[in-house]
Amino acid sequence: MEFEKPLLSLFKKVDELKKISKHDKIDLSQEIKALEERIEHQRRDIYSKLTPIQVVQISRHVQRPTMLDLVPRIFTDFLELHGDRNFADDPAMVGGIAKLDGTSVVIVGQQKGNNTKENIYRRWGMANPEGYRKALRLMQMADQFNKPIITFIDIAGAYPGIAGEERSVAEAIARNLREMSSFEVPIIVVITGEGGSGGALGIGVGNKVLMLEFSIYSVISPEGCASILFRDATKAPFAAEELKLTAPSLLEMKVIDEIIKEPAGGAHTNVDVTAKNIKAALLKNLAELSQLSKSDLVEQRYKRFRGLGIFEELSL
């Protein structure tokens, strides 16, 4: 990524030294170690001062772990289940049953591809109405059989195409919002990449909403905001600042409950550590929510969203 360019020359130097060391059979391990430490130090420095638009870049990184990268590292016995029993199976939305350290759960989430061919198949994770309807039927199954629901969000937005209007993605999302608010099982939402507006929210009604450190959650993309409100697509970095779409801002506004740390340099540098951190957060939050009764779970979720909104009220 652009902002990592300062590290490039240092990486090159390390490669050079390694080549020389091998070719000339000199021991340069001290020098190499010193350089690698400098790289690490500088990377930590860069990552501690990221601007919102830089965070956006990380959240969209082509190698950022997808749901199917994370699931086998967090859960066991995952069985993917397909179809919305109405129209089709949407590859952009994945769902199924699994075990989290022995506890049976239902998982749903958006799935991006790991390469161009996969991305075309997965529609870049941009779900169609049948994706939300598949998610709903699996979540209803969880509710019926008293299993916790864990959702994974990584979507730029619901796919803005003909299908979305012919088969009403609006109705599918709306219905999911209403139904999710009534489920009597724990719902934990994890935003791993892009939390793209209504497309994200359609599986985003949780008792707990967690976010990976460099993921984003917004009502509109910075680019969309720049084009529509600022009438200038180049203003995306400024829009990203105004939108307050990074994890720390969202935590402050109580829109999310917890930030999950990423490995230094971003999740794409170490999937295993990322998965480990997500798993720990899931276990902790699930243990907490398991203490609540069915009606408490519904009430807690209602109150959580009921309290979101900032306004003033005059009195007579």
């Binding site: 979305g164 609006a170 109705e171 209504g198 917004s218 009502v219 509109i220 939108l243 306004f311």
Partner: protein, 287 residues
């Protein structure tokens, strides 16, 4: 001494009169050009026809107070939550600060916000009612619209009455960022409670009903009706065209298209809406 409430009411009435005149483009003359068929109509005829073009039937947009007058029985409306006001909490500036945009919207429309909520009688039947207004920042859904809709639903549960909402919105209010998005959950969750209480929600879509509003309460009516030719959908038509790189077929995302595809119960002309609502309320609420 006048109370703030009285002051607001007076200002509102003054602005209303000014807005209605401006909306019909009558700076001294009495003729209006229909946006759709371009025919010239005498403004008093247009008014008498409930702001529906006498030649082609095009439904001009209504302000929330115009809609209220057409719908509620005379003198039956009590407003709820009129003093809940938006603030620029992020803060957010695009081509102007959000705080200024709110001020300008108030000056232009006389309204505090993009929705009026309360209770009224329709054909003698008591009901909770919400009427959105597109002229206030595009009818956009922000914290206050979300809060007023949620309170309307919660209060209607207490009063054991139906909820009717007239939708008119371009979607979520960007100037409130993620908080606008959260209003979609808040309102939908309240509708879950309404459903559990055995009470009906009738959603009336008007032009336009899009994005964050259609993806929340607007598409959750037990019955969903629409005025003819209203734009009702999720993604904006231009965004779809850019994505699929094709021109959209005529009538795409209009109420009639939505009905054909199974997501609209009825298309109802403006003059017939009140009677239709009365029939529906009686159906739901009769003992």
């Amino acid at each position: 001494m006048k109370s703030i409430h009285d002051w607001f009411k007076q200002k509102q009435e003054e602005k209303e009169l000014k807005t209605r005149t401006e909306k019909l483009d009558i700076p001294g003359n009495l003729w209006v050009k229909c946006f759709k068929c371009k025919a010239t109509i005498y403004s008093k005829d247009l008014e008498a026809n409930l702001k529906v073009c006498t030649k082609c039937g095009y439904h001009f947009r209504l302000t929330s107070s115009e809609r209220l007058k057409l719908t509620a029985d005379e003198d039956s409306f009590t407003e709820y939550d009129s003093l809940v006001l938006s603030k620029d909490f992020l803060p957010f500036t695009d081509t102007m600060p959000y705080a200024k945009r709110l001020e300008e919207a108030n000056k232009k429309t006389g309204l505090n916000e993009a929705i009026i909520t309360g209770e009224c009688k329709i054909g003698g039947n008591k009901t909770g009612i919400g009427i959105m207004d597109f002229s206030f920042i595009g009818g956009s859904l922000g914290s206050v619209v979300g809060e007023k809709v949620t309170r309307l639903i919660e209060r209607s549960i207490e009063e054991k009455v139906p909820v009717i909402i007239f939708n008119a919105s371009g979607g979520a209010r960007m100037q409130e960022a993620i908080m606008s998005l959260m209003q979609m959950v808040k309102t939908s969750a309240a509708l879950a409670k309404l459903k559990k209480a055995g009470l009906p929600f009738i959603s009336v879509c008007t032009d336009p009903t899009m994005a964050g509003v259609s993806a929340s309460y607007a598409m959750l009516g037990d019955i969903i009706i629409s005025e003819p030719d209203a734009l009702v959908g999720f993604a904006g038509p231009r965004v779809i065209e850019q994505t699929i790189k094709q021109k959209l077929p005529p009538g795409f995302q209009r109420a009639e298209f939505v009905l054909e595809h199974g997501f609209m119960d009825m298309i109802v002309e403006r003059k017939a809406i009140k009677d239709t609502l009365v029939k529906m309320i009686r159906f739901f609420m009769e003992k």
